[in-house]
Structure formats: C-alpha cells, structure tokens
C-alpha cells in the first residue's frame, strides 16, 4: 500500500481513470431501460442487483446531489431485525443476512460489526411486549431474547439502572444487532453497479415525469429529457414531492429526525443501547464518538435545521442513561428528513402509474433495509412488476384496504 501511494504521489494525473472507483461523469443517453430516481443506498443497491443478478445494465441512477448524500449519510447506522410483526421480522432478517456478507460481496470493507442491540424495558407492559417480540423474532429466524437486570449490568456496566426514576426491569437483547459504515454501503453498491455498466449521474435532478396513457415513458431532468422503460423512485424524504410530479399522492408525512455525536472517548460501550421510555438510543462508533438519536420532530417539515429543544431533551435522557457523559462535548449535530408512514412500515412496489415503481415510506428505518430492499426492487423491475412474497404486505394499496402492518411498537425510540 505505501508504495502504491508513493506511485500516485509522483504522478500528476491522479486519479487514474482505470483505478478510480467510479467512472468519470458522462453525458446522459437519450434512452435507458431503467431510470432510478435517487442515488442513495436504496437506489444504487437496486441498480447493483439489477446488473448483477438480472443482467439489466442499461440503467441510469439520477441523483440531484451527490452519491449517498441524503439519508444514507444521516442515519445512525443501526442494523437490526427485532421487529414486532411477522412480515417485518421476515423482511428485516433477510436484510441482516445480506449485510453479514456484504463486505465479501463488494470486496470492499463496509466495517460491519455485530455488537448486539439492547432495548430497555421500564414498565411491566413493555416487558410483556418484549416477551412477544422475542418469541416472534426467534420464530422467524432472528436471535433475540429477554434478559434480566443482572445480565444487563454485566453487559453494560456503565448503564444507570434507574434512569429518570424509571427502573430497568428487563432488556430485549438482540444478538443480530449491528452497525456498519453507512457511506461505504452506498459506495460499495455504486462501485459494483457502475463496474457492470450502470450509469450514475450526480447533480442530475428529475424535474418532471412523462406519462402517456397512465404509463411512464420518460423523465425530464435539469440536463435534458430521457425516455425510459420504467422508473424506480427511491427518494426518501422527498417521496411525496416526486410522486406529485408523477401525478399521485402517497400516505406519507415528512418529518425531520435529528441526531448528534460527541467527541471521541476510549471504547467502553459495545452494544447499541436504547430505551423505549426515554425515547433515546446511544451507541459508540468505532472511532469512539458517542452517537445519540431519538424521536422525530413534533411537526412536519422539509428542512434539516437543528433545534435547541431537541438537543436539550435528547441529551437529558442520554445523560440519565450514562451519567458520566455529562462531561462530554457535542461534536456534530445533523438532521435528515424522513418519509413517515402511519403504520411505521415501508412502501414498496407498484404505484398508480404503470411501470413507475415506488420505494418509499422508509421513515427512520431505511438504512437497515438497504440490501434486501435493493434486491427486492430489482426483482420487481426485472419481472416487469411481479411483487415478491417478502414485500407483498408492504404495497401502497394496503392503505386503501385498511391492512396496515403495524410496527409502531418496534421502533428503538418511539417516534
């Protein structure tokens, strides 16, 4: 490695095109078989699986900003499958399995580390709900169990067992809980996709959708119009705005979600810890920074501003859980805008426009689903709109028939 670095240091045309992870920007073609709107993790994962498993490479990923610069870079990188409903557990377990092999698949380190995730119960009702979640999880292939306060103390010695006068009664210990470098996931997929011929166009904003007889025929962008066979919309927080361009409404409301990190400290916290009653989750990154996340903002907004109110309430709760953290300083704060559905489950599959597929409603749970969602959306596209069983419960039409998939109880922090 040092020698190759030296070689680059002595050349004046670095980076070499052949060695670069991504091809240089090119002009838009006039036609693509598949246009993917949104160059985040989900978009590039869909492109990757299309190219790798289905041999569909005449694909353009259109991203208005830069690769993985939206919610892919703004989540807190939690990977877990300890959900509440059978549909949810099956889906997210499949994602965990793909994540485990992703570094090998890419030949690129996404820094996937399985550290386990611990959710604290502070009331009898929560203990009962956790017992149910543990059983549902085990039944559908996850590794989750209910553990006692004694075991929690051994697992996380620094935890205050009586935070905010809410004694810790039990914990939902999810061994499959993991974290990974979220940017690397997007980079790995984008690299694999572009090497197989997919075009990634950054700074390319879709400004309109061409529809003929209820069927999508192309998209207008700030760099010109292109025709296409089908479209996959994967734009997270902007889902409703993009759907409006295609002429339909979605059962989505957009809220900001704020998170923050402290200065780095020595490693002391291995598992990811969250508290259902304190609406707070805490984890230590491999760099040593403490990451905090909590609930969504109290009113809808398309803005990533930060608020003092959220910092105060979230940090107060984090310090209740780990009192010594009161001495740490905040390093960074950010927000993402999240496309929340009323049942806390995603929307994948068909839309009212033919050949226009939606991948939305990812609210605050999108990162952990990146691999499986990409794989499933690729199957939908490759089969011309046939919905795989795994994602059939998450069709947008479930709202029309009042068949929601209620995951409300399964969020790490209540939203």
């Amino acid at each position: 490695m040092p020698f190759s670095l030296l070689k680059y240091g002595l050349k004046d045309d670095y980076p070499f095109e052949k060695d670069a992870d991504f091809p240089l920007p090119s002009d838009l073609k006039s036609h693509y078989d598949v246009v993917i709107i949104g160059g985040g993790g989900h978009g590039v994962a869909t492109a990757y699986y299309l190219a790798k498993y289905h041999g569909i490479t005449n694909v353009a990923v259109l991203e208005k900003g830069y690769l993985g610069g939206g919610n892919t870079a703004r989540n807190t990188a939690v990977i877990r499958s300890n959900y509440m409903t059978p549909e949810g557990v099956k889906f997210y377990s499949a994602s965990v399995k793909l994540f485990e092999e992703l570094s090998h698949e890419f030949d690129f380190n996404i820094m996937y580390t399985q550290r386990g995730q611990l959710t604290l119960a502070h009331t009898d009702a929560t203990v009962r709900a956790f017992r149910q979640r543990a059983e549902v999880n085990k039944h559908f292939g996850g590794r989750t169990e209910l553990i006692t306060p004694k075991e929690i103390r051994e697992l996380v010695p620094t935890l205050n067992m009586n935070p905010a006068h809410l004694p810790v009664l039990a914990g939902l210990w999810h061994l499959d809980g993991a974290t990974a470098r979220h940017d690397a996931v997007a980079w790995g997929y984008a690299k694999g996709a572009t090497q197989r011929g997919v075009e990634l166009h950054q700074l390319t904003e879709v400004t309109g959708v061409d529809i003929d007889n209820g069927r999508v025929t192309g998209v207008k962008t700030n760099r010109g119009s292109i025709s296409c066979g089908c479209v996959v919309q994967a734009v997270a927080g902007h889902s409703s705005l993009m759907a409006e361009k295609a002429g339909f409404k979605m059962p989505i409301t957009t809220y900001p979600l704020q998170a923050m990190v402290t200065q780095p400290v020595k490693p002391f916290l291995n598992p990811l810890v969250s508290s259902s009653a304190l609406h707070c989750y805490v984890q230590q990154t491999s760099r040593g920074e403490m990451v905090f996340g909590g609930g969504s903002d109290p009113y809808p907004l398309y803005n990533t501003r930060s608020t003092m109110e959220l910092k105060e309430s979230l940090l107060a709760h984090a310090i209740e859980m780990f009192p010594f953290m009161a001495n740490l300083r905040l390093l960074r704060q950010w927000a993402g805008i999240t496309d929340m559905t009323s049942d806390y489950s995603p929307i994948m599959g068909l839309s009212p426009v033919q050949n226009y597929y939606v991948d939305a409603g990812w609210g605050t749970w999108g990162f952990k689903a990146t691999p499986i969602c990409g794989k499933m959306m690729a199957e939908v596209v490759a089969s011309g709109g046939k919905i795989p069983d795994l994602i059939a419960p998450f069709a947008m039409s479930r709202f029309d028939t009042f068949k929601q998939v209620n995951e409300m109880g399964a969020t790490a922090a209540s939203h």
Partner: protein
C-alpha cells in the same frame, strides 16, 4: 427557541403547541367509498411550501389555524378558526340507532 404567535395567548414557545394536521374537508363517512375514506385518513399532499394546519395550544386547550412554510420553517399567519368556519359544521355522524 421557536416562537408560535398564538391568536389567543400571544407569542409562546412552540413546545407548548401540538400539531393537528392539515385543514381539509372530511368526506361524509356514511356515503363515501372506502377509497375516499382512506384518502382522507392516510393520504396527504405533504406539500413543500405554504400549508394551512390545525394547531393546539395545549395548556389552554385552544385550537386555531396556522399558515406555515414547510421548507423555510416560517410561520406566516395564525388566526382563530372562526375566520374560516363562520357557521356550525354538521358532521353527519351515524346516530345510536344506525350504529351497531
């Protein structure tokens, strides 16, 4: 601290208020189709721009209407609901005999 100008209580910290959803027309529950009801309950314009919404000042239990910009986070105007609703709204709900 974000300030919400309450038509009844004057400028107050926004943490005292609860967001109550878009102001919109409810379809007649006895006559509309399931799809129309689902549209009303779940689907939303989720607009990026100026929206007209219900807000509640929780400590005084006072509901009012606010016009707000969802991209800039500016509150443009707040006013008493009587400005928009100047007569009684009949909800046309099922009576006890019609219910189960």
């Amino acid at each position: 601290m974000k300030i919400m100008p309450c038509p009844l209580n004057g400028p107050r910290n926004i943490s005292e208020f609860v967001y109550g959803g878009d102001v919109r027309q409810m379809p007649k529950p006895l006559e509309c189709t399931d799809k129309e009801w689902a549209e009303y309950v779940f689907y939303s314009d989720n607009r990026g721009g100026v929206v007209t919404e219900w807000w509640l000042h929780a400590p005084s239990g006072y509901w009012f209407i606010a016009e707000r910009h969802t991209i800039t986070d500016d509150i443009i105007r707040t006013y008493d609901a009587s400005e928009m609703f100047n007569q009684r709204v009949e909800f046309d709900l099922p009576t006890a005999e019609q219910g189960e």
